[in-house]
Symmetry: C2
Amino acid sequence: VTVRIAIDCMGGDHGIPVTVPASLAFLEHQKDATLLLVGRESELKAALPARSASSIEIVHAEEVVEMHDPVMVALRGKRNSSMRVAISLVKDGNADVCVSAGNTGALMAIARFVLKTLDGIDRPAIAGVIPNQKGGLTTMLDLGANVDCGPDHLFQFAVLGAALVEAIDEKERPTIGLLNIGEEVIKGNDAVKEAAEFLRASALNFYGNVEGNDIFKGTTDVVVCDGFVGNVALKSSEGLATMLAGFIREEFTRGPLSKLQALAAMPVLKRFKRRVDYRHHNGASLLGLRGLVLKSHGSADAVAFECALKRGYEEARHRVLERTVAAMQPYVEQLERLHRAQPSAAASA
Amino acid sequence: VTVRIAIDCMGGDHGIPVTVPASLAFLEHQKDATLLLVGRESELKAALPARSASSIEIVHAEEVVEMHDPVMVALRGKRNSSMRVAISLVKDGNADVCVSAGNTGALMAIARFVLKTLDGIDRPAIAGVIPNQKGGLTTMLDLGANVDCGPDHLFQFAVLGAALVEAIDEKERPTIGLLNIGEEVIKGNDAVKEAAEFLRASALNFYGNVEGNDIFKGTTDVVVCDGFVGNVALKSSEGLATMLAGFIREEFTRGPLSKLQALAAMPVLKRFKRRVDYRHHNGASLLGLRGLVLKSHGSADAVAFECALKRGYEEARHRVLERTVAAMQPYVEQLERLHRAQPSAAASA
């Protein structure tokens, strides 16, 4: 069976100069995929080779959601944007998954509006994978879609994250950690404390509280947190990685001797660099929707965008949506009950 | 003038085997300090050289706050603990600063109970320094003392952090960043949005919102955040650093060739390691109290504990307390007004 991927080719900091080369590179390795390149037809044609593969199709969309467009402009004012058309292809069953590097807020809002959320889910969450010390990947959510999360939201994230890992990694009953703070004065805020109770009472494989360092230790398969907290943790880590890379570069170029030593160590340094290159983990999943949507980093280059395409391809091939719906069945009633009991859970945090 | 440091020698994962050697090493370089070693006299005597310096004094305290003692046990049940006695030495004017590697919750509670908070401050905050890309240090607070922070708490942290940097780094009007999330759907939670308004209206040098990566970029001198968020950011970063160090080690010991290459690169790697060794930034300040208290990492070794002693020494020498009180003067009224207006600010978050 062919996997059909709708690609918002205009999105991201770079647009076509990144998305089209990434698409072509992706097809080199993935013969059983069909790519629907969404964007301005003339610009796409100009970027494609004269005779492009039969597995590439152009879907024209006149408008472009800019990176700094307010959500309302993107949602209401640009109904023919490449982002919206790409998502609609999923909605209408013409594509299995949509991938965009565009404006996160707009992508979330349009995806939610067009696709709608699954039963029991209030708002979609953003899930990303982070390499860990065990050589595996930690799936973490939410990474910034939902702030002021109540305990019911954290519980929803746990259900969605578990379903994703079960489907993609074919791992049964993945372990769930609830991100908390450790030995400090008050162990966690109110939302986290209450969410822990829900999780303990559920059939999920709840490990218990984890701390920031457990993300990289790989203590649990899934780490669940408020979107504000998840976003800060992720960006802090990116910042630290960038700083350390800069330090290594500086130390190895400090003088002629250091440069020689760097040359000697180059193969090892390269292996290390490849291993921690976060471009290879680009592609966050928008979970909780009635359709698969992948969000690429806005500043992704072609290597990184290709990884997001691969991730989207894997989610479609592993039928993450159907499996999420199935995995959620035991919880739908509980989620809806929680939702009714806490209509404004966020305010109770 | 001599700086008198009261040291909780029994605190931390290791107690005397770390605190005493660190104290002796510290005195080697700091001749103008007097150390009050607080703990069980017989054990301290056994750990000290037969003829110890006149600048060392033992203050006996029979009890020990264990790392996992609940706050109430430490506060109510162990009134003669080394931690409490060390803090009381500051309270009574017999020491200028207290340093402890003990249980954070207990230290916070006892310090608050014995020393009391400054006018306008509800609860003490934990401030730490983090090395940044610019080669400087970013001061970040709160790192875990206060969760569910309201806008008034975030504002208090800004005032305290600015005063600390002004005193220690002798930097006028340090810049303040409010930790937030970026391009995502809703820019920040309610507490952060409101805190930004307070900060903009104040005389503080408010830079605006910053994101997780700005901590390491050194975008601002001070980064202010909720204690839950700060704790997660810090521990995530520690986790990433540990993982990367492990990867480097693995890559350089993968085979005989790699080992040779590592040998060649050793001087550079060592320089890099020294540069990112977070033991050299050990020592977080408990701010907002009527006395100086430094919290060392519980697992600190002697090198790290010595750094906490140095940090405590610097705070006392720079008269951080007096300068904080002075720096807060313009804000005391505003802080108290905010406090009255939002008696349960945490609940409004």
